[in-house]
Structures are given as structure tokens and as C-alpha cells.
């Protein structure tokens, strides 16, 4: 059976190249994530692979997805405008109002889905909101498009109202669908870090993402690099990033360093703070909505007092922290283990100047960040 690629390379690697044709994919979406934005982004991705897409929208007017999808290769089924008693220009419209006559609405929508499916490669159901907890109905929709020699991939968007690993609904999802992806959200000060985790197949892959104007991309919004004066923060930001900017005065950062990682398909924004205490105010705004932080220390002379202060400040924000023991290339540097003992925080030895261990540190911080999430 052939496979079709997902938007992000790392996702495809996790499932040996993509999603098999003739399979059903459930997307369990935490409430902090816009599932329509993801679903239409997914549709658009398939269009870019020359797939024909069928898209059912039943919780908002079709115009909200029409702008993302290319009309030539997508058929939109309007399952909402009758709820409003409104005109819509969608070519396919479910006449029965889901709130008035649910059974008729389901029956009619199933007929339209099947009728249109003949020459389609992908079906997207946006969404299963009205059928939360009603597994009989979910199964009815799911089984519609699977045939012995079917080729369709069907995606179903399900809001997560508290389904957790190990409970009955979680097991049910795994039984019913060939693939289950969990779109998780982590909120900080109104900013949301979104990431995807495969529930089925059970692979250890977590992929942070965002839906941008150019599609679904791997993305981490905000990481912080801080530490005592002259510990090498600016060098860390620059050598961890592909592009970076700094504002300096006599070689010392006075406002911020800003870098962007853009490699292996990962995008991340990295902010560096000035080290001098008189710039601590900068922490207040640079530290807003961050998802993880590095504290860089000079291993030859770690200023533990200052480091403790920074840990306290960051600790209040409850973000994962990794200490980077810099200048490991120098002879008189302290071992990372010693620094870890002293600070009580995970510590990695790096040589920022030569880029030694920086990528590993970034990966490790990401892992730490993605261990958390809140379904609401």
C-alpha cells in the first residue's frame, strides 16, 4: 500500500514515510489549539501533493476554510449554514440542521460524503465536536470511506475534552483508528506552544509546530538564554542560531540578542538577555511567554550567587531550565557534574565558541519542554 506524506519531515520519519492510503486518522486536539486552522492547513498540504480533497465543515460558515483551500482541487461540504438559516455559496450543502434533526443531518451528510468521494484522495471532517463521547456516530463516519481496495485517507478532528492516556476513550481511539495523533497545547501568558505526538503507532516522537501562512511548520515560539555577565550568552545565541542579531556596547550586550534557528525543519526563536544586573528589567519583558531557558555559566568561574538569583526568577515562571557549562575547552573549567551538584539543575557542558554540544542542548531543552502539556 502506498503512503502519503504529512506536512513535517519529522512526522514522516516517525511513521516510516507517511500515512498509508485507505486508513483513518484521528486528530485529538487540545482546546488551546485551533483545529480548523490545522485541518485546513492539512488540506492545503495535500493539495500541494496534487491530491483531491473533500472537506466537511460543520461548526462554522464555509467561508472560514475556503480562503485556505484551493477551490480547484477541494470540494467543501457545508454542514453549518442551515443552522443559521443562511445562504452559502458552497456547492454541497447539508439541508438538515444538526440541532433540529441530528439523525437526518448525519444521514444526509453521509450520503454526500460518499457521493463526492469517488475521485478524491483525502477526506477531512472538521469536526467531530457535535459527536464528542458518541462513539457509535464517530464509528459510522469513520467506516464510510474504507473499502477493500480503497485509497482514501480520512482525517477526523476531535476536540479533547479531557481524554487522558489510559482511560477508556483513549483505548477506544486506538482500537478504532489506524493512526491517532494528539495535538497538544502548552500555554504561557497567552502564547501557545503546539506540538504533535503520535498515540498510534506508539512512537516516541514529539514535534512542535505552528500553522503559518506557508503551511504547517515545525516551530518553537520562544526560548531564553540568560546567565551572569561574560558567560558567553551572545555566543550561545549566535552559534545556536542560523541568523542572529545583537545590540552591543563595547562588546557587552545591552538590550538583547535575538536569534532564529532554522535547521532540520525546526524553527525556533531564541532571545538572549544582558548579563549585568542593571539590565534585570530586560528579563521582565524578554521573559514573557517563554517556554524554556538556558542559563549560561563560565565554568572557570561560575557566579553561583547570580545563577541562584536567575533560577529563582525563572523558577517563578515554572519553565524548564538547562544550565550550559560554557568554556569546557579551557583547562581550568569545572566539570558539568560539579555544577549540576551545586545548582541542582540539569547541566550540560558546552563550548559555545566552537559550537560544541549546542545542538544537543537545544534538543534536550525541547524534550524537557514537550514533557508538559495542559489539555485545556
Amino acid at each position: 500500500m502506498e503512503k502519503k506524506e504529512l506536512p513535517i519531515e519529522r512526522l514522516n520519519n516517525a511513521v516510516d514515510g507517511g500515512i498509508e492510503q485507505n486508513s483513518n486518522v484521528l486528530l485529538l486536539v487540545d482546546l488551546a489549539i485551533d483545529k480548523t486552522k490545522f485541518a485546513s492547513g492539512l488540506g492545503n498540504h495535500h493539495q500541494s501533493l496534487d491530491d483531491q480533497v473533500e472537506y466537511l465543515v460543520n461548526n462554522k460558515m464555509p467561508k472560514f476554510v475556503e480562503k485556505t483551500l484551493d477551490k480547484d482541487t477541494a470540494e467543501i461540504i457545508d454542514g453549518f449554514s442551515t443552522t443559521l438559516n443562511k445562504e452559502s455559496n458552497a456547492a454541497h450543502k447539508i439541508q438538515a440542521d444538526i440541532n433540529e434533526d441530528r439523525e437526518e443531518h448525519v444521514k444526509e451528510s453521509k450520503e454526500i460524503i460518499i457521493e463526492l468521494m469517488e475521485d478524491k484522495d483525502v477526506f477531512i471532517m472538521d469536526s467531530l465536536d457535535p459527536f464528542v463521547g458518541d462513539w457509535d456516530k464517530i464509528t459510522e463516519y469513520k467506516d464510510l470511506l474504507k473499502g477493500e481496495d480503497g485509497e482514501t485517507i480520512s482525517y477526523f478532528m476531535l476536540p479533547n475534552l479531557g481524554i487522558e492516556e489510559g482511560d477508556n476513550e483513549y483505548e477506544r481511539m486506538k482500537e478504532e483508528f489506524e493512526y491517532v495523533m494528539h495535538l497538544k497545547g502548552l500555554e504561557r501568558k497567552g502564547m501557545i506552544l503546539k506540538f504533535i505526538e503520535f498515540v498510534k503507532p506508539e512512537v516516541e516522537t514529539k514535534v512542535p509546530f505552528d500553522v503559518t501562512a506557508t503551511g504547517i511548520k515545525m516551530y518553537v515560539p520562544k526560548l531564553l538564554v540568560t546567565g551572569p555577565e561574560n558567560s558567553g550568552k551572545t555566543t550561545v545565541v549566535h552559534n545556536m542560531s542560523d541568523t542572529a542579531l545583537s545590540t552591543e556596547k563595547s562588546g557587552t550586550t545591552v538590550a538583547l540578542d535575538k536569534g532564529q534557528v532554522d535547521s532540520n525543519g525546526l524553527k525556533a526563536d531564541i532571545f538572549g538577555t544582558p548579563g549585568q544586573e542593571r539590565f534585570d528589567y530586560a528579563m521582565n519583558f524578554l521573559g514573557q511567554g517563554i517556554f524554556g531557558s538556558f542559563i549560561v555559566v563560565d565554568s572557570r568561574n561560575p557566579d553561583f550567587e547570580r545563577v541562584d538569583d536567575l533560577i529563582d526568577t525563572l523558577g517563578e515562571r515554572e519553565v524548564p531550565i538547562i544550565i550550559l557549562a560554557n568554556f569546557q575547552n579551557k583547562e581550568d573549567s569545572m566539570d558539568p557534574e560539579k555544577i549540576e551538584e551545586k545548582t541542582g539543575l540539569e547541566t550540560m557542558g558546552v563550548d559555545a565558541e566552537h559550537g560544541e554540544n549546542l545542538t544537543e542542548a537545544l534538543e534536550r531543552l525541547l524534550d524537557k519542554i514537550l514533557e508538559q502539556h495542559s489539555w485545556y
Binding site: 460543520n58 472560514f64 465536536d129
Partner: protein, 231 residues
């Protein structure tokens, strides 16, 4: 005992050992004509007057219509909105035409969107939300099953409780059967009821977390000149 937020109604505060417990979800249940919405508005306005903040989920009518109704009682929400101390989530205008505010819903079915817009409004507020309103849970029940509505209210309540805020949720009693009402009430830490007896609304406290509350019913008075008061 948790900290209290004054309702602005002296007798009600007394009956509640000082006011509503911070970080709680309170359902205000009664029939439309009993003044359920006015009670919620009044409690929110009391907070706004004291420089508090809050989010108003307007699911039953457009924010402009809401403000117009409030003006009838001399309650001005406008100035608080202008100071960003109050944010509306417009969950109504999708039914009629174009939404009026930045925070609008495209329907009442998309659970993710409702939650996200609430977060967004909280984020855009000046200050943390002290008192927020969902008006009404009855509107939610029109578009989703009671179990989903209950979970959603719990999520919004948890968001508001993060900064010790109170979430007031109105519920129109006669529109729902007992099971539906039970689900919504189950999401709450306290239930205040308004009941019509011989053409006169009465207020009673059905239950309230961490509170040895009064069990008696009080006359609930409302007029355009004097606002609200209890006898």
C-alpha cells in the same frame, strides 16, 4: 476559608459569610424574567467599579445589545471596556451578521475556539480576570450536549481561577430538563437560585463551597431607578 469577593449586595454578602469564594464557579439559575442576567451583571460591575477586570462571554445577545440593556439600570460598562478592564467575547453576532469585536466566535459548536477566544480575551485584559461571566450556559446547551458544556465550563472556570477569579454562569431553568441542569450545576462550586413566587422573584443559596450559608429566601428587588437590592 478562602478570600471573598463582595457581590455589592450587603445582605447577600452576609448570607455568604462575606461574599463569593475566590477561584470558584458560580451558577446563577432561574427563569428569564427573574433577573438572572441582571444579578450576574451587577456582581461583575461591582468588581469593575473597584478597578477589577473581567471577561464577558456574550452568547445570548450581541455586546452592544447587552450594554444597551444595562444602561436601562444605569449601569455603564462602556468605560470599563474602553480601559481594557472588560473584554467581551462576542458569541452571538455570528448568527446575524458580522461580529462586532476582536474576540468573536464563528459559532457555538467549536469547543476549541470557545476556549481559545476566552484565553485570548483574558490575555488582552488589563489585569487578571477577577469576575467573568458566561451568559448563558443555556446558549451552550442549544449547540452541544450537556456533558460537553459542563466540561467546557470547568475549563473556563479553571482559567479564571488561576488568578483567583470568579466565573459566573447563568442558566435559564425552564429551558432545560433536570438532567441537563444537573450537569451544569455539577460544574459549579456554588449555586444561587432565583425563583418566582406569586409574581415576586426571590433569591436563595442552594449551595456554596466552603461556606455556611443562609438557607432562607430573600425578596429580590430590581428597578431602573434603584438597581438591585434584597429584602
Amino acid at each position: 476559608m478562602s478570600e471573598r469577593l463582595s457581590t455589592g449586595l450587603e445582605q447577600l454578602d452576609n448570607d455568604l459569610e462575606g461574599g463569593l469564594p475566590q477561584g470558584s464557579i458560580i451558577v446563577i439559575m432561574g427563569d428569564k424574567k427573574t433577573g438572572v442576567e441582571q444579578l450576574a451583571d451587577y456582581i461583575m460591575l461591582e468588581g469593575l467599579k473597584n478597578d477589577e477586570s473581567g471577561v464577558f462571554m456574550a452568547l445570548e445577545k450581541a455586546p452592544s445589545k447587552f450594554k444597551e440593556n444595562a444602561e436601562y439600570y444605569g449601569w455603564a460598562f462602556d468605560k470599563h471596556e474602553r480601559r481594557d478592564k472588560m473584554m467581551f467575547v462576542d458569541g452571538y453576532s455570528w448568527q446575524s451578521g458580522e461580529p462586532e469585536t476582536d474576540h468573536y466566535l464563528t459559532g457555538l459548536t467549536d469547543l476549541n475556539q470557545i476556549s481559545m477566544k476566552f484565553i485570548r480575551a483574558v490575555h488582552d485584559l488589563k489585569g487578571d480576570p477577577d469576575r467573568s461571566i458566561v451568559n448563558s450556559s443555556s446558549a451552550l446547551l442549544e449547540y452541544m450536549n450537556a456533558a460537553s458544556a459542563k466540561k467546557l465550563i470547568k475549563v473556563l472556570g479553571a482559567k479564571s481561577a488561576k488568578n483567583s477569579g470568579v466565573l459566573l454562569v447563568t442558566l435559564h431553568k425552564s429551558l432545560h430538563d433536570k438532567q441537563e441542569r444537573a450537569q451544569i450545576k455539577d460544574a459549579a462550586d456554588g449555586v444561587i437560585r432565583l425563583e418566582m413566587k406569586d409574581g415576586q422573584p426571590y433569591l436563595g443559596i442552594e449551595r456554596m463551597t466552603q461556606t455556611d450559608h443562609s438557607k432562607s429566601w430573600r425578596k429580590f428587588m430590581i428597578s431602573s431607578e434603584n438597581g438591585l437590592w434584597l429584602i
